[in-house]
């Protein structure tokens, strides 16, 4: 009874409109976060593989160069990298190459590619030499061996570590707010200022958690899918 009374009062009030408006804004921000997330994965997963292969190359200059790249990417804060990617072309060369959103995608991609590269490398190096030898005596080319024999096994082994990075990426999208991209965190901050209430922070927490709950489900089902062999 009491609950119904409150519900009727709430639905009839102006608060419901404010609530709906706020969630609308937050979800639009979340959509931008999801775009950053998806595009970063789309570009950094393949780029990371190329970096890993180059890092393991016998060409010394290439592997040293990529070691240095990985050092920078892992050794400095992502938030600084975002600012550097966005501002450096303008201040160093007087160029405006891209908008804020593109700058964020570039920064996230090169940063995450470095982490993924090290995960790939660990996976590739964990495959027994015998797999390469068996492929070699059967006449598979190097590319065939990598694509047919090695990588499928690598993917299974690295899935848990990749899952970790993917979950971190969902939360890292909040860093895009530093150059003014209207993703979830920035929208939330604006909302708390506008309404002088901190409830929006709580809602944002719920949205991030929901996204990562979905990510976790997807990762688990991928692991199950690859469970048919050991």
């Amino acid at each position: 009874m009491l609950f119904t009374k409150y519900l009727v009062a709430f639905l009839g009030s102006a608060e419901i409109n404010a609530f709906i408006t706020q969630w609308g804004l937050l979800l639009r921000g979340a959509f931008t976060s999801i775009q950053i997330f998806a595009l970063t994965l789309l570009f950094s997963l393949p780029l990371g593989l190329l970096v890993a292969l180059g890092r393991m190359s016998k060409k010394k200059w290439l592997s040293e160069l990529l070691k240095f790249y990985i050092l920078i990417m892992r050794g400095t804060p992502l938030i600084l990298q975002i600012m550097f990617v966005y501002f450096a072309p303008y201040y160093l060369f007087d160029l405006s190459l891209y908008d804020r959103f593109t700058a964020v995608i570039v920064a996230f991609t090169i940063n995450y590619a470095a982490y993924f590269a090290e995960i790939y490398r660990g996976g590739i190096e964990s495959i027994q030499q015998g797999q390469y030898e068996a492929a070699s005596v059967l006449g598979f080319s190097k590319v065939q061996t990598l694509i047919k024999i090695i990588l499928p096994q690598v993917i299974k082994r690295i899935l848990p570590s990749v899952g970790n990075e993917v979950i971190t990426l969902v939360k890292d999208t909040a860093l895009a707010n530093i150059i003014g991209v209207s993703e979830l965190f920035r929208v939330t901050k604006n909302e708390t200022n506008r309404t002088a209430k901190v409830t929006a922070f709580f809602y944002a927490g719920i949205i991030y958690l929901t996204l990562n709950w979905i990510v976790t489900k997807v990762m688990n089902s991928l692991e199950e899918k690859l469970d048919y062999y050991r």
Partner: protein, 253 residues
């Protein structure tokens, strides 16, 4: 007819000489057993022939094609990539640890190379694979994955995988050494059947019984050199070489 000819092959790991001035030949249809103590270079020998390791000097000819020969500078010079690939396809290899592809079913382990290396059709490759599995008594394992097989079954599948490429010669690198003793029999039986079909085989083994019964010729190696070479009787019964005698005695005590 000679199928493999090795002359003056030497191989070093740094300052360590693993094979020194090694010469032998393999004739078509012959079964050769290479025996000898651990570290004598037996496996390295096979790995050099199957191009998993490079040699330092020497000549190797496979099926009339020059795989490698000593150049004017005294160093081994390998044939072109294209030529090496052709040579590789004449040879099959069975490893101590099977090295099956864990993410492929038994069937696909056998069909993958015929389809993607030789370019034969899926249907044809399947037919060959099923025939081979039938022959080694594993028809019911077509859809199994390697982790579901015993060691003996894995090794038989590995043999079928090598045979599906229709090689002229098959190398075995201690094919039963990783198996429980009661599982070696089923693998040796498959190998004996192959020998009876005149498959050319070079077998590095510690199975003295197999070497004695099945091999046409036995090579006894020690410290990277051939100590003695001859018929099983020459080696196991009438050898006058002290090193050979003490090695063989070690197995029957």
């Amino acid at each position: 007819m000679q199928i493999i000819r090795v002359e003056g092959l030497s191989k070093n790991y740094g300052e360590n000489t693993v094979l020194s001035n090694f010469s032998f030949e393999v004739n078509k249809g012959e079964v050769i057993a290479i025996i000898g103590p651990s570290g004598s270079g037996k496996s390295t020998m096979l790995r050099c022939l199957s191009l998993l390791e490079k040699i330092d000097t020497g000549n190797v000819t496979v099926g009339g094609r020059v795989m490698v020969e000593t150049g004017a500078d005294g160093k081994a010079q390998y044939a072109s990539e294209k030529e090496l690939k052709k040579i590789k396809l004449q040879m099959g290899m069975v490893f101590q640890n099977f090295n099956l592809f864990p993410h492929f079913s038994v069937l696909r382990n056998i069909t993958e190379a015929p389809v993607h290396v030789l370019g034969i059709s899926q249907i044809e490759a399947r037919k060959i694979a099923i025939e081979l599995l039938d022959k080694i008594g594993l028809s019911e394992k077509v859809k199994s994955y390697p982790w579901q097989l015993s060691g003996g079954e894995s090794q038989r599948v590995a043999i079928a995988r090598a045979l599906a490429m229709k090689p002229d010669i098959l190398f075995f690198d201690e094919p039963t050494s990783a198996l429980d003793p009661e599982l070696t029999g089923e693998v040796l039986k498959v190998m004996k059947n192959l020998a009876a079909e005149n498959m050319t085989m070079v077998v590095v083994t510690h199975e003295m019984g197999f070497a004695r019964e099945v091999a046409d010729r036995v090579i006894f190696m020690d410290k990277g050199k051939i100590v003695e070479e001859g018929s099983p009787d020459d080696i196991f019964v009438s050898s006058e070489n002290e090193r050979t005698q003490s090695f063989i005695k070690g197995f029957y005590v």
